[in-house]
């Protein structure tokens, strides 16, 4: 069922309007590193660059400001926001708190059987990936997609619009997304081994939800987020330029 929304996992940009195009393209330009944080952006400049009038550009800027990707500049104009290690860590911790809240709600209030089955099926699909002969790029991409769907399904199973919205927002931040960190490590057997503990946590949180263990479910999801945080920070400390990660150019490396 969740095939149409596989691209971004949310439907916040509705139609084929110029405004939605502006949001999409501008966001891609920023996280793709084509607009470095040093570059000053103005409305007219962007309207020429994207081939549309200022009106949809203004809407896009307002939205990306709300997402925290753009920041106003003192003398007018904007720039892409740069993120230091502390901010990244906080964003990931925050995501863990939201998703921990979702897991606790599911454990305390109970989960609909079909939602539980859907989550279990996603875990099983990820399990199957680990059975493959060798764990290559294809498996990483597939795991990332399944992982994102698992996290989104967890939030939406609560039935709470607030939780869904906040989980979406927490995952929209660069680097904080659950799936964005999967591919931090280059790939290969070593990377596979780093994914196994995370997958075990997926299984554990479902067990905790089933057994109505709210505090445990919350703690697992918090630690689950910290797991990806550790992975990212380890990769950041290495000199390698973080290939394959969206928004790598926005990271303010520690001096």
């Amino acid at each position: 069922m969740a095939d149409a929304s596989a691209t971004n996992g949310c439907d916040a940009e509705p139609a084929g309007t110029q405004s939605s195009r502006a949001v999409l393209e501008l966001r891609n330009l920023i996280v793709g590193g084509h607009i470095p944080p040093e570059e000053r952006l103005t409305e007219v400049q962007l309207s020429e660059r994207l081939g549309m009038s200022r009106t949809p550009i203004r809407a896009a800027i307002q939205q990306l400001r709300a997402e925290g990707l753009l920041e106003p500049l003192p003398g007018g104009g904007f720039h892409a926001r740069a993120f230091g290690p502390a901010e990244i860590a906080e964003a990931i911790e925050l995501r863990g708190m939201i998703e921990g809240f979702a897991a606790r709600l599911l454990a305390e209030r109970g989960i609909a059987p079909e939602d539980f089955a859907r989550l279990g099926a996603l875990v099983a699909e990820m399990d199957a990936l680990f059975e493959a002969e060798d764990f290559g790029a294809d498996q990483f991409v597939a795991y990332g997609g399944l992982n994102a769907r698992f996290h989104a399904a967890l939030a939406s199973a609560t039935g709470s619009a607030l939780v869904v919205e906040e989980a979406r927002r927490a995952n929209a931040r660069p680097f904080a997304a659950a799936s964005a960190l999967v591919r931090v490590r280059g790939g290969g057997a070593a990377s596979r081994d780093h994914l196994l503990p995370a997958q075990d946590q997926h299984r554990a949180v479902l067990e905790a939800i089933r057994e109505r263990q709210g505090a445990r479910a919350e703690a697992i999801m918090r630690e689950h987020a910290r797991h990806s945080e550790r992975n990212l920070m380890k990769a950041l400390r290495a000199k390698a330029p973080l290939t394959g990660v969206a928004g790598a150019g926005l990271i303010r490396r520690p001096a």
Copy 2:
């Protein structure tokens, strides 16, 4: 230092532009109950009602949508969002989680002495209110303001833009704000007694931060939010029409 921003506790609406006026007036109309959730809103209609063109109205609508106050309607147009008891409880719980995170960060990383002093001064000011001969409307208003400043100062002491932003958002939701619930009870001696436990939690969280007790600080702020949640829910169960609370018309009472 914190006098200019005393009106709303945040500076998200910068200048005296039509757009900022539109956001302010429209938000007041909604939470003031002048725009019930049943009423359908359109851009042209609002532009006539507020005496400005559609351009600033569009910006305001986009912002209030992001705040969760407005919801698009299927056939075009919007309506003020109505909140059920579950959504209100979740919003308050979420606020407790964010503020708990802030308190834990302060305990773990340490707090700047001047920030700690500022928080202590606010608590002392609130303490002084309880010493008054009788606890009337003036004291309630003063307590609400001090309380809002305490919560805002707690978040901003972390120095994390992310925490500040999320705390602001959590407090911006109707009913979820820390200060909004202070005046739920009518006033008088009985209401005063309901405020004392909350004030004790203010003192306790400062002690926990000072003693570097992160888990305790977080737990206190979570429970602190639940305290106000209990107060609101009790008031909701009573038949009384919730005088003095902003956005009372947005509550979907349990049948």
